[in-house]
């Protein structure tokens, strides 16, 4: 059963990626930019779910890793060609996550949440101080890349991420991650190198967030610490993953697509009230769909099928 659905999923995924790759050839610029944003959030949401989904450690450091990628791109962007900028951003994030993970992943529950949330603000204020007092700037300029180039870069990052997630999930490391989420001590007794595995997977998830950050930096062109380290980026993947459903791979992808489109729609229709409406939607989504879209469809389906049985 599992195998069958994943085979269908793979075929569907390949078709979607090929269709996506053709988009810049005929679609208007606006669509390309919108799709780039969607791909960006998909990358962040899927990489967040890669670690936090199976282990149950809720990380709010996504903005820190994303921002690390952005800032690295801003620093090396003038000197290096685009692919190397992306790699540099990814590696910078990877290193930050390795360090942070090694330090903090023995914290449990709410302490881990607080720590990761604090990390975003720590990096923001440290870099702000550094820029103002030591390098004497407040913002940096990243050499811009064309819309289509940024789109293809994001698409490549996303596809590599999907492949990575797919193989990690199917390998024994995926099972080991799940066992950590179920019961860490039992996993450790069963021979899982709990700490090493957590840290490595955490860093891998950060790697992709950093790459996405570096890619987006070339689109935004002007960067300052407040733009780079936006706490919203920490919460969005959590919301998207919960909304779409954490378990299946397509859950955070669907969640990211819907929320990014929603954000874009609200931003163009209600530029002054969009954050307000967004907040209301967030609260309502959590209130009425705590198990996400998939939980909701299951519940509706159950109701319908129950009614059918009741009728007969």
């Amino acid at each position: 059963m599992e195998k069958k659905t994943s085979k269908k999923g793979i075929i569907l995924g390949v078709i979607l990626v090929i269709l996506g790759a053709l988009v810049p050839l005929f679609a208007p610029v606006y669509t390309v930019i919108l799709l780039t944003s969607i791909l960006m959030y998909m990358t962040i949401a899927v990489s967040w779910t890669l670690f936090s989904g199976p282990t149950g450690y809720i990380s709010l450091a996504s903005a820190a890793f994303f921002g690390a990628g952005i800032y690295t791109a801003a620093i090396v962007g003038m000197a290096l060609p685009l692919p190397l900028v992306i790699v540099a951003g990814a590696l910078a994030s990877f290193c930050v996550a390795l360090l942070v993970g090694a330090l903090t992943l023995r914290l449990k529950g709410i302490y881990f949440v607080m720590f990761t949330f604090g990390l975003v603000e720590l990096l923001l204020h440290f870099i702000l101080w550094w820029e103002v007092t030591i390098s004497g700037t407040t913002g940096r300029v990243v050499p811009p890349a064309g819309n289509a180039i940024v789109f293809y870069t994001m698409l490549i990052i996303f596809v590599i991420l999907l492949l990575t997630v797919f193989f990690i999930r199917r390998s024994r490391y995926g099972l080991a991650l799940l066992s950590i989420g179920e019961n860490e001590e039992a996993a450790s007794h069963a021979g899982v190198h709990v700490t090493a595995l957590k840290v490595i997977v955490y860093a891998i998830s950060a790697l992709f967030m950093g790459a996405a950050g570096a890619a987006m930096a070339t689109r935004w062109t002007y960067i300052d610490p407040k733009i780079a380290f936006n706490p919203l980026i920490s919460f969005m993947p959590v919301l998207m993953a919960i909304f779409g459903g954490i378990r299946p791979l397509y859950g955070p992808i669907i969640g990211a697509a819907i929320f990014t489109y929603l954000e874009e729609f609200l931003l163009t229709r209600f530029p002054y009230h969009y954050m307000l409406i967004f907040g209301i939607i967030m609260v309502v989504a959590i209130l009425y769909m705590p198990d996400g879209l998939i939980g909701l469809t299951q519940r509706v389906w159950k109701k319908i099928s129950r009614r059918r049985y009741a009728d007969t």
Binding site: H125, W129, G279, L287
Partner: protein, 289 residues
């Protein structure tokens, strides 16, 4: 030299008093009502702006407007818990799920409150001058409003502590903090008590905001920073410990004042470094078991 030390210590206590009030509020909300209120700072901001409006538009003395902005913010918190969080609590399968869901709901609230405030007051930085004359303190000079702020902060914490220690409701709150299920079985009306706790948490945030508005500039987006500081303080003092939050607030204020004296831009960074070191070395806090 001695004057400098006195200067740093007293400004640290002034800052610490405000931190203590807001952190005691967050400690109630997290320690008892189990809501990690990321929107705590927004209640602080609300208190600050209500006081600001009452003073600049109506001319009500900020110290008297405590009696207005306190109950308003309390009511907002109480109603929010009775509607939103009670529903989330009953629908979440586990305590962990409730913590996660309520935190996300708070993040939504953060946007709602912040943007409503921007609609009402605009996005600019605001401030007013109240009791701004200097007072000599063994050679160190302070604005009178900051001393009044410290006095009120200490008084608010003391009153609240006495309330928790000596009244029936205080006892119910302490019981709910230890074990909500058992407290419910012992006849504590648990939903009511948790909602009151959340309301009291909001009240402390509102009063903290009113105090902040007397000595500092305010803006609608100021909340997150104060939320983070309050979070750091309650970890510093040990999660759920009211006394710990109070002591932690004063300690953090002192640290902030010392760091500001050495390198002004780094006080927030220093808070986070302390926070992270503490989480790594002693996550139960300085007064924790």
């Amino acid at each position: 030299m001695i004057i400098t030390i006195l200067d740093v210590v007293i400004s640290g206590l002034l800052l610490g008093g405000i931190y203590a009030v807001t952190a005691v509020g967050l400690s109630l909300q997290y320690g008892v009502a189990r809501v990690l209120n990321i929107a705590h700072g927004e209640f602080i901001m609300l208190g600050a702006f209500i006081t600001f409006s009452l003073y600049t538009k109506v001319g009500i003395n900020p110290l008297i407007s405590f009696a207005i902005c306190g109950p308003v913010v309390f009511a907002v918190g109480f109603v929010l818990y009775r509607t939103l969080f009670t529903r989330l609590r009953t629908s979440s399968p586990t305590a962990g799920a409730f913590e996660g869901n309520s935190m996300l709901a708070c993040f939504g609230l953060l946007f709602i409150i912040q943007n409503v405030a921007i609609l009402i007051w605009g996005a600019d930085i605001k401030g007013y001058s109240y009791l701004a004359f200097p007072v000599d303190f063994w050679g160190a000079r302070f604005a009178a409003n900051r001393l009044v702020t410290l006095g009120f902060a200490l008084a608010i914490c003391l009153v609240f502590y006495l309330f928790l220690a000596n009244t029936r409701l205080g006892k119910a709150i302490r019981a709910a903090a230890q074990d909500p299920e058992t407290a419910g079985l012992m006849g504590v009306r648990i939903n009511q008590v948790l909602a009151l706790c959340f309301g009291f948490g909001a009240l402390m945030a509102g009063l903290g905001g009113a105090l902040i508005s007397m000595s500092y500039k305010i803006e609608p987006t100021m909340g997150l920073e104060y939320t983070m500081i309050a979070l750091i303080v309650i970890v510093l003092g040990g999660l759920g410990s009211i006394l710990g939050s109070f002591v932690g607030g004063l300690v953090l204020g002192l640290v902030g004042s010392i760091v500001t004296h050495i390198e002004p831009g780094l006080s927030l960074v220093a808070y986070y470094v302390i926070f992270m070191l503490l989480l790594l070395i002693k996550p139960t806090g300085i007064l924790g078991k």
